[in-house]
């Protein structure tokens, strides 16, 4: 993995960083690279409430905010920014304003690498809209000033259309922190994390591959 000057991670939901990117974040932090995580919403519309329920529509954002802060803490992210958008509404924001808002953060942090979702291949409308706004903001920069953009894609058709990921990071060395980050989002991941640990114990190859290999597509401007 290349050593970066500054890594800027931009995702719409607390926990978006956990599954696909937290290992890569940890590796950058171990490398001494500062990481900024800009998270657009607090996942207010999350549906996991538990049975019996542990949250209401009104308390969920507070819970998820604390979980996000905890995940940032276990990963060692010093600069966590919560941008105050609302879950499931990102795609309805004014695209230019949204891109400008992200452009300000890009200008301020001057990253050599941005990690976000691949617009059109990230399933959730907030993911696609966030990725699209990042791409729009980066396009505003002169070509020689643009940071690299590594995108996360996981739609069913993504490999058919954009090919194989060109960046694959082996994060097995920081697997413990990755699992801790996933677990920090307890309201969303409780069940999943338990199953995952079980699968890792059993060395199920598919789960191990998903867990230890983080895949990115470099965006071609």
């Amino acid at each position: 993995m290349e050593k970066e000057r500054h890594v800027l991670v931009i995702f719409p939901h607390p926990d978006d960083e956990a599954f696909g990117v937290s290992g890569t974040i940890s590796l950058h932090i171990d490398n001494g690279t500062p990481v900024t995580y800009a998270c657009l919403t607090l996942g207010e519309m999350g549906r996991n409430m538990g049975n019996p329920p542990f949250a209401t529509r009104e308390t969920l954002p507070k819970i998820r905010k604390e979980e996000l802060e905890e995940a940032a803490r276990v990963l060692g992210i010093q600069d966590l920014r919560m941008l105050g958008f609302r879950d499931k509404t990102v795609e309805f924001e004014d695209e230019e304003k949204l891109a400008n808002r992200l452009g300000v953060i890009i200008g301020e942090t001057n990253p050599s690498l941005i990690i976000t979702f691949y617009p059109g291949y990230a399933v959730h409308p907030d993911h696609d809209a966030t990725g699209a706004a990042v791409i729009r903001a980066v396009k505003e920069l002169p070509a020689d000033k643009r940071p690299k953009v590594h995108c996360v894609a996981f739609s069913n058709n993504c490999e058919e259309e954009i090919g194989q990921a060109d960046v694959v990071n082996d994060v097995s060395a920081v697997a413990d922190r990755k699992i801790a980050a996933i677990k920090a989002h307890a309201s969303q991941t409780q069940l999943m994390a338990a199953n995952m640990e079980e699968s890792i114990k059993k060395q199920e190859p598919e789960v191990l591959a998903r867990m230890y290999k983080e895949r990115f597509w470099t965006y071609n401007f």
Partner: protein, 115 residues
């Protein structure tokens, strides 16, 4: 939240009748439903802080419950209500959770706007 108790919910619906209230109404099957099952038709609707007055409202059914609010010019309606809570701000929070504990529907009534 606690399992909905019909009489208690009815009392709260009555308390909030005939005054200006803010409504949160939501139904959802989640943004990932069609990703995991491509034959699944994903749908949902959401309104936050609709300001209205209802003249009377009712909780019916044997549970999961249905709740309807009758307005001068129309209706508010939710189906599948399983849980309720009156929170510290005296807001009536009604929700329907599916068998795995996922929110499927929410209807909330407050005298002040939701955040």
């Amino acid at each position: 939240m606690e399992p909905a108790v019909k009489e208690h919910v009815q009392k709260e619906i009555d308390r909030l009748a005939n005054k200006e209230v803010f409504i949160h109404l939501e139904t959802t099957n989640g943004a990932y439903a069609s990703h995991f099952d491509e034959s699944f038709f994903s749908s949902g609707a959401y309104i936050r802080n609709a300001k209205l007055v209802y003249e009377h409202g009712k909780i019916t059914g044997k549970g999961p419950y249905r709740v309807g609010l009758k307005m001068n010019f129309g209706w508010v309606y939710a189906e599948g209500i399983t849980h309720f809570e009156v929170d510290e701000e005296d807001r009536l929070l009604l929700a329907g959770h599916d068998f795995s504990g996922k929110l499927a529907v929410a209807l909330q009534i407050s005298e002040t706007p939701f955040e």
